[in-house]
């Protein structure tokens, strides 16, 4: 029964197409920062050039400027002074350009990360409910935290370092060839060995870094599950067993983390010492060459070459240090792109909901809130505009639905709700009550049949307008971080304080809100953690009430409120919704009894319908459930 849809595909997967991901990532960075990136490249170039000039200067320092001065009675320091002045200018240029590109890169890095975060978020908000129902929330979260974070080091450091290293390497090779070809070849051979070893080690550590991410993810999941159920753990004295289980996961994470760092750590000393060996070899060989005065090779040239030698191994060392961050960033980027590539909720609707007023018996569109709503239907063929009053009539015609195509949950649902009626759905858990409401506001689309709202096929209505026309109080109450006032105002963003308080009174929440430390300004945190389930439901009802919706769906909205309070809440809701359509899903009979029509659902089918009295009369399922007698 392990759901195939809930595969944990998040952390640690091998990147399938690294080049493609890399290209796309670069594209994103470049797109918004074209100018900056060009300036950065120029600055890096200048900075590397200045550095090379500096190194060349040291060569000339001994050979051209110091050696000639030795032993002369009245040494002329002017050429030396001039040379130093010249190199000082180069150095200054290098420093300025380094500062410039580092500073620009901060904006590029942080800007890209901000843009990506915003893109991910706004795309996520556009995804269909199905996406959220089929992905672990922890996995979605980790895109924002772990995955976006991996990009930071890569953009801010790896890119710059790789680019400047490449330029350095090229220019250093050129200079080295200029000084001595045999020594250059020697250096290159050693560097080649260095690269081979680095690649091998980086590959190993990369593998363990990915393993570390997987283990961290697993441990993360375990901690989350246990912390969530910590009270149950206490009640069942399960602490010791938990610690044992945790130890196993923790040891595994230790192992992968140790190995990942181990291989990453030893790259640097190995490369550094190979660099030293290369230095020594060049010194010996160069010494021999200089002593035999091979092809005009001088001591000064050797010193200069050795500096280049050191300068050459350094960028290579730096590049290999960046391997891991690049590997991890690509894995992170791939998951980010997976989310960005998810298909948004489709919306082909063109019928919109507008405020309206009646003039001479005709509906006219208006800007202000009138309490009267109309569907604005622009005929696509003729461009003719038609207004139709929103009444809340709902018809379901032979609707079939399943969350996946091979398993239908609802069959042949036929339903008609006249405007202003209160329609109730009853039936056992899993009979499909909540599913029906998911269809009305198009959280899911039906496979077969038609749903008409005021005679309009709901597929033609713009989703946002359809949803705006339906207030809904969900089975699971969710509150947002913010004040109680903010939370209720969520239903209508421009509601005045008075409107909010009126709504709270209607939901019978006013009394307990006033008892909170800061009343309506009390800040709720972690989903209203300290409120009881019943209090949270009252807030959710107030939130829906302040929206003053044309139609309302209440899905087990009062299940945790005691029967006495429920009655008070219900009476005021009934008053508010007078003349408007209400759908009610409930367990308790008291909640549904006074409905205009009660639908009894079983196994995804409506088996009985009618008013309470009619259904009792029928002596069917409802009667049976109601009286507790088996007919």
């Amino acid at each position: 029964m392990k759901g195939p849809m809930r595969n944990n595909k998040a952390v640690g997967k091998k990147v399938e197409n690294p080049m493609k991901v890399f290209k796309r990532l670069l594209g994103i960075i470049f797109k918004k920062h074209k100018l900056q990136i060009i300036v950065v490249f120029i600055c890096i170039f200048i900075s590397v050039f200045a550095n090379v000039q500096g190194t060349l200067f040291i060569q000339r320092l001994i050979d051209d400027y110091i050696e000639p001065l030795i032993g002369t009675p009245n040494p002329d320091f002017t050429p030396l002074l001039l040379a130093i002045g010249k190199v000082a200018v180069f150095y200054l240029l290098g420093v300025i350009s380094t500062y410039a590109y580092s500073r620009i890169m901060v904006y590029v890095t942080q800007g890209t990360m901000r843009d990506l975060r915003c893109d991910i978020f706004s795309h996520m908000e556009s995804l269909p409910i199905k996406y959220f129902d089929t992905h672990k929330h922890g996995d979605i979260m980790s895109v924002y935290t772990n995955d976006v974070d991996t990009l930071r080091q890569m953009i801010s450091q790896s890119l710059v370092q790789v680019f400047s290293s490449v330029i350095t390497i090229i220019s250093v090779i050129a200079s080295m060839i200029f000084l001595s070809i045999p020594l250059t070849i020697l250096t290159l051979v050693i560097v080649f060995i260095m690269l081979l070893i680095s690649r091998k080690l980086a590959g190993k550590s990369g593998k363990y870094f990915l393993a570390q991410q997987i283990d961290l993810g697993t441990e993360n999941g375990y901690i989350e599950e246990m912390m969530n159920g910590q009270k149950v753990v206490k009640v069942f004295n399960h602490e010791k067993k938990n610690i044992e289980d945790f130890k196993k996961l923790n040891d595994k994470l230790f192992h992968s983390s140790y190995n990942a760092n181990k291989f990453a750590n030893i790259i640097m000393p190995i490369n550094a010492q190979i660099g030293n060996v290369s230095y020594v070899l060049c010194a010996i060989v160069g010494g021999l060459l200089a002593l035999s005065n091979f092809a005009g090779f001088t001591l000064g040239m050797l010193v200069s070459f050795l500096t280049f030698n050191k300068n050459f191994t350094q960028p290579i060392n730096q590049v290999s240090q960046q391997f891991n961050s690049i590997i991890m960033a690509l894995a992170g980027a791939e998951r980010i792109f997976d989310l960005l590539d998810e298909k948004s909720e489709e919306d082909n609707g063109y019928v919109t909901l507008v405020n309206a007023k009646k003039e001479n018996g005709k509906l006219v569109e208006t800007k202000e809130h009138t309490g009267l709503w109309a569907w604005k239907h622009v005929h696509q063929a003729t461009g003719e505009v038609e207004y139709k009053e929103l009444e809340g009539a709902l018809v379901m015609d032979d609707v079939d639905f399943g969350y996946s195509d091979d398993k239908m949950v609802l069959h042949n649902i036929k339903l008609y709700a006249d405007p202003g009626q209160k329609i109730a759905f009853v039936g056992s858990t899993g009979a499909g009550k909540t599913t029906i409401t998911n269809l009305i506001n198009r959280f899911y689309d039906i496979q077969d049949g038609k749903i008409r709202y005021d005679g309009i096929n709901i597929n033609k209505i713009k989703k946002s307008d359809l949803r705006r026309s339906l207030g809904i109080v969900l089975q699971d109450t969710h509150l947002f971080t913010g004040t109680v006032m903010d939370n209720i105002r969520y239903g209508k963003l421009d509601a005045t304080d008075e409107e909010v308080i009126a709504a709270a009174k209607l939901a019978n929440a006013d009394t307990f809100i006033r008892q909170l430390p800061e009343g309506y300004n009390t800040i709720l945190k972690s989903d209203g953690g300290n409120l009881s389930q019943g209090q949270r439901q009252m807030l959710a009802i107030a939130r829906a009430a302040v929206a003053d919706p044309p139609a309302l769906i209440l899905d087990e909205a009062t299940s945790s409120i005691d029967t006495r309070t429920e009655k008070i809440v219900q009476d005021s809701m009934d008053k508010l919704m007078k003349g408007r359509t209400t759908f009610v899903i409930a367990h308790r009979l008291s909640t549904v009894m006074n409905s205009d029509c009660i639908m009894v659902l079983e196994h995804g089918r409506i088996i009985e319908r009618g008013t309470h009295d009619q259904l009792i009369e029928q002596k069917g399922k409802y009667y049976q459930l109601y009286t507790g007698k088996t007919a």
């Binding site: 040291i58 400027y65 110091i66 040494p75 320091f77 000082a88 150095y91 380094t98 500062y99 580092s102 901060v106 901000r114 978020f121 996520m124 959220f132 979605i140 979260m141 441990e219 993360n220 901690i223 969530n228 910590q230 009270k231 753990v233 009640v235 069942f236 610690i243 923790n250 230790f254 983390s257 140790y258 750590n265 030893i266 190995i270 010492q273 030293n276 001591l299 009853v426 056992s428 858990t429 899993g430 946002s464 969900l474 969710h478 509150l479 971080t481 945190k525 989903d527 009881s532 389930q533 209090q535 929206a547 409120i561 005691d562 029967t563 367990h587 008291s590 399922k621 009286t627 507790g628």
Partner: protein, 582 residues
Amino acid sequence: MIKTLAKHIKGFIKESLLTPLFMILEVIMETLIPLLMASMIDEGINKGDMNHIITTGLWMGLCALIGLFAGIMGGLYGAKASAGFAKNLRLAMFENIQTFSFANIDKYSTAGLVTRMTTDVTNVQNAYQMILRMCFRAPFSLICAMTMTFIINAKLASVYLVSIVFLGIVLIFLLKDTSKYFTQVFDKYDELNASVQENVSAIRVVKAFVREDYEVSKFNKAANNLYRLFVKAEKAMVSVSPIMMLTVYGSIIAISWIGANMIVGSELTTGELTSMLTYCMNILMSLLMVAIVFVMITMSLASAKRISGVLNESSTLKNPENPDYNVPDGSIDFENVSFSYSSTSEKPVLNNINLSIKSGETVGIIGGTGSSKTSLVNLIGRLYDASSGVVKVGGKDVRTYDLETLRNEVSVVLQNNVLFSGTILDNLRWGNENATEEECIEACKLSCADDFIQSFPDKYNTYIEQGGTNVSGGQKQRLCIARALLKKPKILILDDSTSAVDTATDAKIRNAFKNEIPNTTKIIISQRISSVEHADKIIIMDNGEINAIGTHDELVKSNDIYKEIFEAQTKGHGDFDKKGEL
């Protein structure tokens, strides 16, 4: 705080000590190499002494080899010590959290604890590795290089001294605010992630109210704030590198000029000048390292604080010193008990409760939302301690019992119950690790769960998803009851545990309890009259106080609250979950 964390290096002390030692050895080799280099140029190349060149070369090779060994060992031990430290920290936190009382648990959010055990520990791990590998290495390398330069030529070396002082002052000035900015960054970052989490779990609300655009603009604002803070924090950091370069270049120029003059004046050799220039890099790189370590430590300080907060949190409930391991029977007494969740709140949640329940009785508790029904029963299993008064189980104060013994005898089915990922059997065995399959089935029959479990293709081996998302609410509740039954407790408390179970099944479960576990004290909290009407006594809770205690017949006659609930519910008798739902 440091002390709290340092305790957990245990088991990796050897590695933690060896790492800096090896790093120092590596530094010594790194310092020797340029020295040998200078000697090679001066004594060997300049004098045309090929023998000297080769001997020096061999010595250099040896140094490189030792340096390599030291570097690798330092890397290995450093990785092990820091990964081990992180492992210990996570385990210590997890262990400590396991000792938390309900009151402690209420203090932390799940997300907060998860971040502390993952992100924060990783930050500390990285910082620790950095400290081990660099904290000794960098200053030591600095000292070595400085010493060498002074040995070569004290006059020239003073140039470095000047530049080091300059760099040090500038860095301190630059970085003094960085840590502050980063703390702010982390706070904002937490907030941003919290808002994402909220949106993911409340996506239906967002969509139902068509608030996508509103949420996006809210998020963009938060992301922009984070961006601004991040830029501010990093701006200081990026000037480090150019200032470094400025100092290096300045020193090179100064040394070239002064050195040239000294060579001309025969105070210095060309080889010595080369060495001086090589040490230049060493000195300034170590300085930079010190700066980086400094920044990393300040950045991880925020994390370290959060970790030690969890580690130092001590349970508000302590096991008594000479605990009683024997609960004689399932009787319960409350004597003048008052309770509030925090000492500062004015109005107690429970006020002066007096109550006596005999072993084996069935007691119903009913009352409005927020009338403290749950708080009342939570005191029995000592999930919280009463603020004043005494709660007794089996005639003895609950605070005298061993906690584990007490909680084994008092089994609570919580209102917000949780199933864990694993098979149904795994979940049931939380009640009793050694329960046989037959015992599990027996318990499920009592809680009317056997029927639906048998209908699953994998029966008792059906895999339950995290949080029990793949079973219905009613099924979950019945599994939770079975799990509690497997403890074979003396007292069983059902806190609104059958709210999603239909009336008929509810009645069947109650019947099974009556016949199969007659000696167990049963306490049933419910909103439903039908769940409590057959109880030996019914307690009406109102506003933290006992409004009345009596049997159904008595209360229907005499108690207004009860009468009102009864009438509201009998008009609409029960609810609509059909029997044996799947």
